[in-house]
């Protein structure tokens, strides 16, 4: 058996942090992605511009730099506001951006931009005839979205979504650099303390591959679900 020098439990905790971080960021990213896609498809000139600016900047700056900017800078930015509140009204509020929150926000923000592109393409791929059919049945706008646009869009969005998820999962490793005890950081600490880099880093690598394989399987099932009615059409 491999000797983990007592780091086993912390490594497991780290793996949980990685998964929590990835899932919460994914939820935020999907939410932002839907918003961005709508903004980019909207008739409003301003919304369109804002959406484009957001995706351009996010895709132009490294994840790590954005993360440091938000983690180190974001706190000071928020404090400028709370300091002002304190000075003006003697209200002492403290909003803490810890490593976890900074991680979720940055990763969510980054992948929101990529999701936006995925969703936009998928919405455009939905056959407008289906939507018209829904309207003809007297469905409300929101019902059309829930029953027709969204499920049809998901079919087209899933491959991109699954791809983004795989990249997102690996991006979570960067939070170890700003100090969050995810599994990469625990492994780095453990390998420095025990002088056995291979043991811990290889375990972490295998866990990443495992998560990726499980999610690949999950996405394949989802795809099957959303492919209902298209099965024969390859």
């Amino acid at each position: 058996m491999i000797d983990l020098h007592g780091y086993g439990p912390r490594l497991l905790e780290g793996a949980l942090v990685t998964i929590e971080l990835a899932v919460l960021s994914l939820i935020l990213a999907i939410f932002l992605g839907l918003l961005t896609a709508s903004a980019k498809m909207s008739r409003s000139w301003l919304l369109h511009r804002v959406g484009t600016l957001y995706t351009t900047i996010i895709r132009g700056v490294p994840d790590l730099v954005l993360m440091m900017l938000l983690f180190f800078g974001g706190q000071i930015g928020i404090n400028m506001i709370t300091d002002w509140l304190y000075d003006q009204f003697n209200i002492d509020i403290f909003i803490n951006i810890n490593e976890f929150v900074a991680g979720v926000f940055t990763i969510g923000l980054i992948f929101g931009a990529y999701m936006g592109e995925t969703f936009r393409g998928a919405f455009l791929a939905v056959d407008s005839g289906q939507i018209e059919a829904g309207r003809a049945y007297g469905m409300t706008q929101s019902l059309v979205f829930r029953r027709i646009r969204f499920p049809l869009m998901m079919r087209h969005a899933l491959p991109g979504l699954s791809n983004n998820w795989m990249v997102l999962l690996k991006t979570t490793a960067l939070v170890s650099v700003i100090g969050l005890s995810d599994m990469v950081r625990v492994a780095a600490e453990a390998s420095k303390a025990t002088r056995e880099p291979f043991t811990f880093m290889i375990i972490v690598g295998i866990v990443y591959l495992l998560i990726a394989s499980v999610s690949e399987w999950g996405f394949a099932r989802l795809q099957k679900h959303y492919d209902t009615g298209h099965a024969e059409a390859n």
């Binding site: 919460l24 709370t82 003697n90 803490n96 951006i97 929150v101 700003i178 100090g179």
Partner: protein, 255 residues
């Protein structure tokens, strides 16, 4: 655990309110960067310990407040104080003018020198511009040793900056670094004592110029927390008078 994290995530929307009565001395949080043996480090089971930790706890007891320790990486430690992530820094921080612009310091509670450390067979005897030419020098990012080495030898030597003292020791062990520049007690504990015979101090211990090496280690407060700083200064005087300080000092540095 998950629930708590989701809660803290919701914080931006709802704002976690730390209710306080003004001006009164309240429970405080103290930031510390580990490991920095023997000043602050963890025991194998994860407990914080070290000179700063023991002295800090004794000071808090003397002032009569509850203190909670928060671990924070060095390169974000002053921004974190200004950002009110915690109220005090007690983490082997040297008092100097550059930092005085940002924070309010207590009186110094210990004044250790800095020193160069290298392999026992190092060819360097007196670290100066000639001797360090072409060498790879290790420092911890954002420390006064970083500033000093960068300003004096940045042009002739490669300066490698590390996030923690541990990283530096690892690269020293592997032979990637020729020489490192550290607070003397830390180098003594991590290089001389734990790896006996392989390393030695190179040249004199350094305390000058004051512009870099300042006036010893102090606790750092936000500028506006003058009352808190004064309370700690008074407590320090008491602990030195009643022998508690001496006791803690002996535990970590011997006689």
């Amino acid at each position: 655990m998950t629930f708590k994290k989701i809660l803290s995530l919701g914080v931006l929307g709802t704002a976690m309110v730390a209710a306080t009565a003004n001006a009164e001395v309240r429970d405080i949080r103290i930031a510390v960067d580990v490991p920095y043996e023997p000043m602050e480090y963890r025991t194998p089971d994860g407990e914080l310990t070290g000179f700063d930790i023991d002295l800090g706890n004794a000071l808090c007891a003397e002032v009569g407040i509850q203190c909670e320790w928060v671990v924070q990486g060095w390169d974000g430690i002053i921004p974190g104080l200004m950002a009110r992530k915690y109220d005090v820094i007690m983490s082997s921080m040297t008092i100097n003018d550059q930092r005085r612009e940002k924070v309010l310091f207590s009186d110094p509670y210990i004044t250790p020198p800095s020193a160069w450390f290298g392999p026992a067979d190092s060819a360097v005897e007196t670290p100066d511009t000639d001797a360090l030419k072409g060498m790879t020098v290790g420092v911890q990012r954002g420390t006064l040793q970083d500033n000093y080495a960068t300003d004096l030898y940045g042009d002739v030597a490669d300066i490698n900056r590390y996030a923690t003292a541990d990283d530096m020791v690892l690269d020293m062990d592997s032979g990637r670094l020729d020489i490192v520049f550290l607070d003397y007690p830390i180098g003594k504990s991590t290089l001389l004592d734990s790896d006996a015979g392989n390393y030695r101090v190179i040249g004199e211990q350094i305390t000058e110029p004051k512009e870099y090496f300042g006036d010893g280690f102090g606790m750092a407060f936000r500028q506006r927390d003058e009352d808190l700083a004064n309370a700690f200064n008074e407590a320090l005087v008491t602990l030195k008078d009643n022998g508690t300080y001496e006791e803690i000092y002996t535990t970590y540095f011997g006689e």
